[in-house]
């Protein structure tokens, strides 16, 4: 006697439809858009943003918000460069040690973030924003406003070496996305995110340790921010205190555009993927079709509004019979 709106399904697939429509639109205006090389360019641009978006998706699924990504990304990126250089300066000479190290640092930053939020009972947006400030500040102290470079052709192979037309870093991001999808659907942790986001009271009343789930969520997000930092360094060969700039806007916009509800419990990492692709296809496509830059800013603003409209609509149709 119950059922779903077909409209609900339509809205669930709307982001993917939007993505396909955008690709068709841009291709129609400039056929150059539809080329493997260009898709590779979009993928390179999207890879770090995707990792940030995946991280924040877990947080948003829990109905919280994490605004620490810019600071966390800058901090881990700079630290990664220092560590990489310190351990030999090339991947072969021991620079690889920097990778697990920086994932741990990311986890630590995230965990601290979660602990501050949970233990001190500070709203997540405030705790994470403050944590982001602290991380950025620490980055400025580390670099003194300067730039740290990595000059290792093997590590930079993530950007320069291609497989089937796509740089290796795209495959790294793809693999991490699969890991995230596995965590989301196949682990108790992923299930817990949905439970906490769908009904925190209930999760508590079912005997879940909600606080621990939250801390775990922020820790996991921190790890993904660190992955994003490594990819960003692979992409640019350098890190500085502004390396993480703009990632807050891009990741949260992407997540919402992709169909993850900001109140929690709805969506997942695949939505984040579609959202990140939409944002990056728009960024790339607007230049490729030759839109004037002032129109580009307007388009991006429009995108945010559409995203909010779509997500509000989604709430309205989740009618319980």
């Amino acid at each position: 006697m119950t059922g779903r709106f077909t409209r609900e399904d339509a809205i669930r697939w709307a982001p993917l439809m939007v993505l396909i429509a955008l690709v068709i639109l841009f291709t129609a205006i400039n056929p150059n858009f539809f080329a493997l090389r260009n898709f590779a360019r979009i993928a390179v641009a999207a890879a770090p943003a995707l990792m940030v978006a995946v991280g924040v998706t877990f947080i948003i699924l829990m109905g919280s918000i994490d605004l620490s990504m810019e600071g966390a990304l800058s901090f881990t990126a700079v630290l990664f460069c220092y560590a990489f250089v310190k351990f030999g300066g090339t991947l072969a000479a021991g620079g690889w040690v920097a990778i697990p190290l920086i994932l741990l640092v990311g986890a630590a930053v995230g965990m601290l973030n979660g602990l501050i939020h949970v233990k001190l009972r500070i709203p997540s947006f405030m705790a994470s924003l403050a944590m982001g400030f602290v991380a950025t500040g620490a980055t400025v102290l580390l670099t003194g406003g300067g730039i740290v470079k990595i000059d290792d052709d093997v590590f930079r192979g993530l950007l320069t070496h291609r497989l089937l037309g796509f740089p290796l870093m795209v495959y790294v991001a793809g693999f991490c996305l699969l890991v995230a999808a596995f965590i989301q659907t196949r682990t108790t942790l992923g299930r817990n995110f949905y439970a906490v986001g769908g009904g925190e009271e209930l999760a508590h009343a079912s005997g879940l340790n909600v606080k621990r789930v939250r801390v775990a969520g922020f820790t996991l997000a921190g790890v993904f921010y660190a992955v994003a930092a490594i990819l960003q360094v692979a992409k640019l060969g350098q890190a500085e205190s502004v390396t993480g700039a703009n990632f807050m806007f891009i990741s949260i916009t992407s997540v919402v555009v992709g169909g993850v509800a900001l109140w929690g419990g709805v969506g997942g990492v695949w939505n984040a993927l579609v959202g990140v692709l939409i944002v990056n296809v728009i960024n790339n496509g607007m230049v490729v079709i030759g839109l004037p830059d002032y129109v580009q800013d307007g388009m991006l603003g429009l995108l945010v509004i559409i995203a909010v409209v779509l997500s509000t609509d989604r709430r309205a149709v989740t009618v319980v019979k």
């Binding site: 006697m1 119950t2 059922g3 779903r4 709106f5 077909t6 659907t185 196949r186 682990t187 108790t188 942790l189 299930r191 817990n192 949905y194 439970a195 769908g198 009904g199 009271e201 209930l202 999760a203 508590h204 009343a205 079912s206 005997g207 879940l208 340790n209 419990g265 709805v266 989740t318 009618v319 319980v320 019979k321």
Partner: protein, 501 residues
């Protein structure tokens, strides 16, 4: 004058309305009854414009109409009084009444509050409510809010030519008896102004108020009964499709419990607030009912056993182990299950599917190193769906879309499938219809037979008497009296009331 002919509504996997014919005449009061999931809610939503039918015809005074949304229906004189009240608590009564229609009081961009207050008073007079229209809504009693809601719908009278049709969805579910009588008197008087469609789970009320009763089952109207034509039992028979058991509370299935095995023991427990010196013992297979008025402390005791509250003094022992750390996590680990009153808040996660809800409290059992064995979870869910005959298209169905009774079954299955042998039930039948209630009663007896100790806070006194092995009456946070409820020697309503008030 308002008529539905052969109206059909389908959702994926569910045929919610099957060629339903329905009509209501001027000044008539029509009742609508049926089990949960019989299609009442869907029919209501079609009636007030929230759903658009897939087939059939709707006519109003002979004209064919199609409502795009509830507002369109309102503009044709069809209004809805919601069960979950739609008044905004921090606005005043008059603001609520004219919410969205303030324009008539605006002069030069400013609201003329005096004019609005006068108009609001006129509306309130229709429902015989003498309160200041400038009162903030949250200051009103629940019954008063119900009347304000009705007054709000009655503003249609001024805005819409022709007759009104007003839908009342469970208007009495939280009203006291005298309040119910008042409401009914009012509704009868208002038939000069409007027709009413009345939906309730309380069969006696529907019988008392309605001129005609539509009986629904499985998405179809199975009978239309004129007042006095049939007895309550006959109608219930139609609704359920079977005889309502004389042994409604399954007393014949009540077995003596094993008094030698204590599972929960409270000794002189005191809680913050007014709850003092509570001592009680629950045994294997016992149904222990806590009886008292709202706020007497029944829920607080349940929540203490479940670890959601920490006592100031006294001892709580579960299965021989004294509890030192009061968290739900520990309680669950001890085999305690909790079915809360607020199903939507603490019972099920809407948006998660049936199997995810069922294994929520026992994910450790279905995972290794944090990785879930989803096939196992789904098999378990399928098993319980058939065991409890849960009406869901599959274990993948969204729990938020199930009817109340089926949601409750999912909650019970969640604990039972996890092997909980101490169950705390807070109003487990609230908001359920007869069929679903009987299912819950059967489940309680099943659990009792399986040796589960049950602490119950029942929806009605009859339910408490019928179901329990023992009753503890609580008043103002203190235990007044303990009754044994052996079949044949059960206390009467009066016995209990005597100690309650």
């Amino acid at each position: 004058m308002y008529q539905l002919a052969k109206v059909d509504k389908k959702f994926p996997g569910v045929h919610a309305l099957k060629a339903v014919d329905f009509q209501i005449g001027r000044g008539e009061i029509v009742g609508l009854v049926g089990e949960n999931g019989a299609g009442k809610s869907t029919l209501m939503k079609v009636l007030y414009g929230a759903y658009q039918p897939d087939g059939g015809q709707i006519t109003l005074d002979g004209r064919s109409v199609r409502f795009a949304n509830p507002r369109a229906a309102m503009e044709q004189g069809i209004g809805m009084v919601f069960q979950e009240q739609s008044l905004i608590a921090n606005l005043t009564v008059m603001e609520n009444i004219f919410l969205g229609y303030e324009q008539q009081f605006v002069r030069f961009g400013v609201i003329n509050w005096k004019a609005m207050a006068a108009a609001a008073s006129a509306q309130l007079a229709k429902v015989k409510l003498t309160i200041d229209p400038a009162t903030v809504t949250s200051a009103l009693s629940f019954a008063q809010r119900q009347l304000v809601e009705l007054a709000k719908v009655l503003t249609l009278e001024e805005r819409v030519p022709g007759n009104l049709v007003i839908l009342l969805d469970e208007p009495t579910s939280v009203l006291a008896e005298d309040e119910v009588n008042l409401l009914f008197k009012l509704v009868r008087e208002l038939t000069s102004r409007a027709s009413f469609i009345f939906v309730s789970h309380r069969m006696d009320e529907v019988m008392e108020l309605s001129d005609r009763i539509y009986v629904m089952k499985d998405g179809a109207v199975v009978d239309v009964v004129t007042r006095g034509e049939k007895s309550v039992e006959q109608i219930q028979h139609k609704m359920v499709g079977r005889n309502v058991d004389k042994e409604y509370y399954r007393e014949h299935r009540q077995q003596p419990f094993d008094a030698s095995k204590e599972v929960v023991k409270l000794e002189s427990v005191s809680l913050p607030g007014r709850i003092n010196d509570i001592s009680l013992t629950l045994h294997r297979g016992e149904v222990l009912c806590l009886v008292g008025t709202e706020g007497s402390g029944r829920e607080a005791i349940l929540r203490t056993i479940y670890g959601m509250r920490t006592p100031l003094a006294g001892k709580v022992t579960i299965k021989g182990q004294q509890i030192t750390q009061f968290t739900p996590r520990n309680a669950v680990a001890q085999g305690v299950g909790y079915v809360p009153r607020e199903r939507k808040v603490e019972g099920i996660v809407a948006g998660m599917n049936v199997y995810e809800n069922m294994t929520l409290s026992q994910m450790g059992r279905h995972s290794s190193a944090g990785v879930l064995r989803i096939a196992g979870e789904r098999a378990l869910a399928r098993d319980w769906i058939s065991k409890l005959s849960i009406k869901a298209s599959s274990e993948l169905a969204d729990c938020g879309n199930l009817s109340g009774g089926n949601q409750q079954k999912v909650v019970l299955a969640k604990w039972r499938s996890g092997g909980s042998d101490i169950m705390l039930l807070d109003h487990p039948t609230r908001g359920l219809d007869i069929g679903a209630k009987e299912d819950v009663y059967d489940m309680i007896r099943d659990m009792s037979e399986a040796g589960v100790g049950i602490v119950l806070v029942a929806d009605t006194l009859e339910e408490a008497i019928g179901l329990s092995h023992s009753i503890i009456v609580i008043k103002d946070g203190a235990i007044q009296k303990r009754f044994d409820c052996t079949p044949g020697a059960k206390p009467s309503l009066f016995d209990l009331l005597h100690y309650m008030i």
